[in-house]
Amino acid sequence: MGQSVASVAGRERTIDVDFALIGHQESWRAAADVLAVLRGPERTPLPDDEIKDILPWIPPRAVCHVEVGSITGAKARGFYIDSFIPPDRLQAAYVHENIARVRGAAACAIQAGAKIASLGGFSSILIEGNFDQLPERHDTVFTTGNSLTVGFIVQGIERMCALERRNIRRSTLLIVGATGDVGSGCARCLAPIVRRVLLNARNGERLRRLATELQADGVQVEIATDLQQLSAEADIVICAASLACPSLLLRRVAPAAIVCDAGYPKNLSPTVQMPGVKVFFGGLGQITGGMRFAPDFRGILNRHPFPDVVHGCLLEGMALALERRFEPFSQGRGAITKARVEQMEAIAARHGIYLAPLYNADGPLEHAVPCQTQWSSAAVHRPRPDRIAESVF
């Protein structure tokens, strides 16, 4: 039986459930690995065609228990809930089906009694502006987690500039997907410290509104719904949305530009698509107080080259749970400000949640800061390089 699952879950959820993390698998390979863990080592893994047939029918539900530690000694417990959005159904054509799945996952969080739920990946994108689409919330509050995501993207840009000895103040910043919650948050945080800002998004009206807001603070802004219409080359780029055609970006970036892939799924490959460009995966943080899964999904749900690295959106819920501050910190679309980001970063830092060491699809870009975690060992946390862009956590 799934003894390992049953034994950790207990029969009744009598324990306090501090947080729920709602996500989905980014690739069929990731989904296959999750199902392989659930099947156990004694059973042969399901063939790919069976996984593609079965997964879309699985209703949203908890997959594992998650426990996180703070450097203060505090602990918080929760669940990872998968909405089981099929990895090949992330497009707009499936939006209603996917919203229904996120609603189902949210209902699981509520039923489990989670005090706070973070909406990871597409889960937050789908409901960013529509929190009323979530089920009636009872005692569970929801956060998109986007404030901490923005914080880690901005910190990542700053660290990458330091590593590459770039002067951020002389840089031209391009944000792709600029009018989304994460994109606009990044614009508000970084616009005041760069020379010039280029904003790209599909919705012209939203672009104009954001530009007007930034220009009111004296920022030099150019907007375009078509990347190719921008007049300048960028030397820092934030891709806040997954790019359907990453090569389009190449024509608008300066040689050796710094590119932060903050989209979901992450799909920028430095060697194949962006020769010469310094790509890193943005929006990731590391829990230095440790993180434990039961059953053990280490390296399966979080496929990063460093231990205890998690997407900022999910970390926000964990940080708020460790802080015992159960509030819908990030909600809506376009409401993220520099002050809120700094507030969230301070909460995270109090519990030892910091920017993760930088890496991209080819591997680490810097040496890991020694991470004294309670439960994790860097040695066991080395996913194959070709898998590190596919992390649900």
Partner: protein
Amino acid sequence: MNSIECTSLSTTAPIWQDILAQAMTGELLAAMNYTSLSEICTDPAEIADALEHAQGERGHAAAFAAQGRKIGVQVANNVDAKHWKRLREAFLRCIAEHDFIGCLIVQEIMLESFAVASYSRVGKVAPGSLGDTFAGIAAEEEEHIGHAISILRSERALDAQRFDDKVYHLHLVVMTTLAQMLAKECKDGHCEVCHASCVKPSLFEVSLSAAELRGASLQQYLKTLDMLGIPGEITLAWVSQLPV
């Protein structure tokens, strides 16, 4: 069903014949199960309930047979076919142990989940009165589940661990058999219900597929287990471990 419908079904009639045969066999097995259940009940109301259910299932079997006649096919049944026989044996073990709750779990949670989900899918694609019959019976079976859920939830409230262990024990036997029945291909020979070769590869001709019927059945099963209150992470592992 009018003559036009009959004509339109003529090419697919052999497929519907096998679908109806599986459904009819399931209904007859359910009727046998409820009759057996009535024999271990002590409360007159429970006995009456079980016998009423048995009668209802026989009515469903008759309705499926009638639909076969309308499209010009003879609907066979075989409750001794290998998979169905194993399911019956699992139920009879509960009867032998006078395990009323076990009987409800097997019949109402496992077998009816399968019936409700697959009949609903068939009901959506089958034309005319054939589709109406499947859809109508799916709705009736769903009512059974609702009634059983309230009894089983009360039972689980007494001792969740014991209850979940019992469900798991029965799951291993019953759901493994159902998973084999629902596999995309019958890997261990003829099912002994289809009138000729296996119907599964032909299901696409009537806008169905074995994968869809399996997926819908497992989804219904998981949702039913959710209604009982068994944690989702546990039932997910159970279902993930089934054969394909």
